[in-house]
């Protein structure tokens, strides 16, 4: 109870602090891209807009996953004073749309031919009731595995492409004195690893029916789920004892320093390698997570637009939406962030080979039906269901439950959250 009080006071204070006057013709943007490369990406958008005569009021609420930002956004929206745009993604866009807060930017979309610029999987997420309400900034691929080739050479192992092979090669690395899998024991990282296992072991069809809304409980109850947990459980032995609570970038640096062989993490890990001055191919290798080479688990960041009462602000909002889909912004932003552009028709020349792989996989997977939304990053199911999956995955991974117990727990938790 005391905490409910504390939090509501917090939200109220944040509300007071951030209700600055935004003049007509400006945009106010809520986001949580506050770290180095991300902040640079946002600043680029700001400059583009100021060239177009649109002012920018920054409404940054720090906190990597955006939980704090969402709390502030809710109080702003309820009090009838929402920002122009907010960093919201996946099914959350639909939740906000259902509540009637979002602006219709179909006009901009039609004028700029978004229907042809965006792949269908992307544009579906951006629409509510058939109308565009949000603009995508990037596509992350989550099912990447980052390896240190030096470590593999020393241990006489090869980079695995299936989960069965992973167990063999990881054992070789361990035998040579390395940590096989660099991992941070935080719920979202456990879920990211679990997701790679689900796609690698179960395949795209299973993934789409069991882990994408609407969830088919019969498929989730099948033996495949037990198999998934079997493999997931086998990974426990390849992680060092210090992993609980470790941040993902610390795990990445273990791979860089040659203490660990592999890490399974989205393409934002590439930024870490780049900052450390390492070269792809020689110093580190990017491959798809075992068993998912043809697949692509996507995580799309986007800005959703809130309905405005003032015509000048609506005009500014439309300018912002058009700029976000521009080739300049998509190129610069994604080079900084490690992801790939969300729209088609952007020159590939400046991107590196990992990004090229990601682009190819995105197109190929979309044709073969193995392009799947990431449930570990809030793209596939409602926050209640993804919370249930998080809980089951992280609880299983940090205990000595059997695969059957893990699967039963997952089914029960998902059923209860629906």
């Amino acid at each position: 109870m005391k905490n409910t009080m504390k939090i509501s006071t917090l939200a109220a204070t944040a509300l007071l602090a951030t209700t600055t006057s935004v003049s007509a013709g400006d945009v106010e943007v809520l986001h949580w891209w506050t770290s180095g490369g991300e902040a640079a990406s946002v600043n680029y958008l700001k400059d583009k807009l100021s060239d177009a005569g649109v002012g920018w009021t920054d409404f940054a609420v720090a906190g990597g996953g955006g939980e704090n930002a969402m709390t502030v956004l809710k109080s702003r929206a309820i009090s009838g004073n929402p920002p122009t745009a907010a960093q919201i993604k996946g099914p959350s866009i639909q939740e906000w749309g259902d509540l009637g807060f979002l602006a219709d930017i179909d006009g901009v979309a039609k004028a700029n031919d978004w229907d042809n610029l965006l792949p269908a999987v992307v544009s579906d997420v951006m629409k509510h009731d058939g109308k565009y309400v949000a603009a995508p900034v990037n596509v992350h691929r989550v099912n990447w595995m980052w390896s240190n080739p030096e470590v593999f050479r020393y241990a006489g192992a090869t980079i695995p492409t299936t989960w069965d092979d992973f167990m063999v090669q990881a054992a070789k690395l361990e035998k040579a004195g390395f940590i096989a899998l660099a991992h941070g024991g935080q719920a979202w990282q456990d879920a990211t690893l679990f997701e790679a296992v689900v796609l690698g072991v179960g395949g795209a069809d299973y993934y789409n029916s069991a882990f994408v809304s609407p969830v088919d409980l019969d498929v989730l109850k099948s033996d495949t789920t037990v198999e998934v947990f079997e493999t997931f459980g086998n990974l426990r032995q390849f992680i060092d004892a210090n992993s609980p609570g470790r941040d993902w970038n610390v795990a990445t640096s273990m791979v860089m320093e040659g203490k660990a062989g592999m890490q399974i993490m989205g393409d934002w890990a590439k930024g870490e390698f780049k900052v450390a001055g390492m070269n792809v191919g020689t110093d580190y290798v990017c491959t798809a997570a075992p068993g998912t080479s043809g697949g692509h688990t996507f995580n799309i960041d986007s800005f959703a637009f809130f309905a405005q009462s003032d015509a000048a602000r609506t005009a500014a909002q439309n300018t912002m939406a058009a700029e976000i889909l521009g080739t300049d912004f998509q190129t610069v932003f994604n080079l900084n962030k490690g992801s790939i552009p969300a729209r088609l028709g952007v020159s590939r020349a400046e991107f590196d080979s990992c990004a090229h792989d990601s682009m190819d996989a995105f197109i190929a997977a979309s044709a073969s039906g193995s392009l799947v939304p990431s449930f570990a990053h809030g793209m596939a199911v409602s926050s209640a269901v993804s919370g249930a999956i998080y809980d089951s995955a992280t609880n299983f991974f940090n205990s000595d439950q059997s695969a059957q117990e893990g699967a039963d727990q997952l089914v029960a938790a998902v059923a209860a959250a629906m």
Partner: protein
Amino acid sequence: MLNYLEKHLPKIVLAPTTIVMIVCMYGFIAWTGLLSLTKSRMMPQWEFVGLDQYVRLFANPRWDVAVDNLFIFLILFIIIALVLGLLLAIFLDQKIRVEGAIRTIYLYPMAISFIVTGTAWKWILNPGLGIEKLFRDLGFAGFEFRWLVDSDMAIYTIVIAAVWQSSGFVMALFLAGLRGVDDNLTKAAKIDGASTVRLYWHIILPLMRPVFFSAIVILTHIAIKSFDLVQALTGGGPGYSSDLPANFMYTFSFNRAQIGMGAASAMIMLFGVLAVLIPYLYSELREKK
């Protein structure tokens, strides 16, 4: 006019505080109670579903873990902090040298926020950085102390950090109480030949009853509202094995878009506090008459 003011001034002065109390404490408690009966998810919505949220709450394995942890934490934290605080106070009360300096040292942790305490202990208890590494570097190769990364033991690391932070404060409470004991009483007991142990056990401790009362009330509410310490020290992990109800409530209300269930868990926490405090307050305050 003057008479009227004189008569009503106290009420007028107190009125704003009372209104703020009624709205911000009891009003929001009632609002949370109502919310817990609705099917609210991302935003409050007033579609009532009876006790459905409570049924879902108690079916959630994570809530079970959080409640079990609260009992472990509450009991161990209060007992250890009380015993340690009392012992420190008694030792300090033996008219020793540099008492002022020692007292300040023991009291200092209280000046640090739980976030700092949690972060510092996270490093101290981390097997690769802290105690385990220290002992291994000193030559005890087989030394193991990894409660922080062990699902079954993680909750006890929270007890350690919380006790470290709060026992100095309990010491200060008891020290103030001990200083208030009438010297004549102790002298009389000594003349009658009571040993120091008997003196404390039979005469001084019973006199400390009001101090026990304040200490337990303060420690209980520190324990139940513990949120920042868990967040900083273990983040609820490994898995969710060191979650406390406050962390559960925050996660479900604000991160998981299940405000209804979060409100239900907040109400259960409130009932928990009341169940402990009301009988205690009742028995303590009644005897005062």
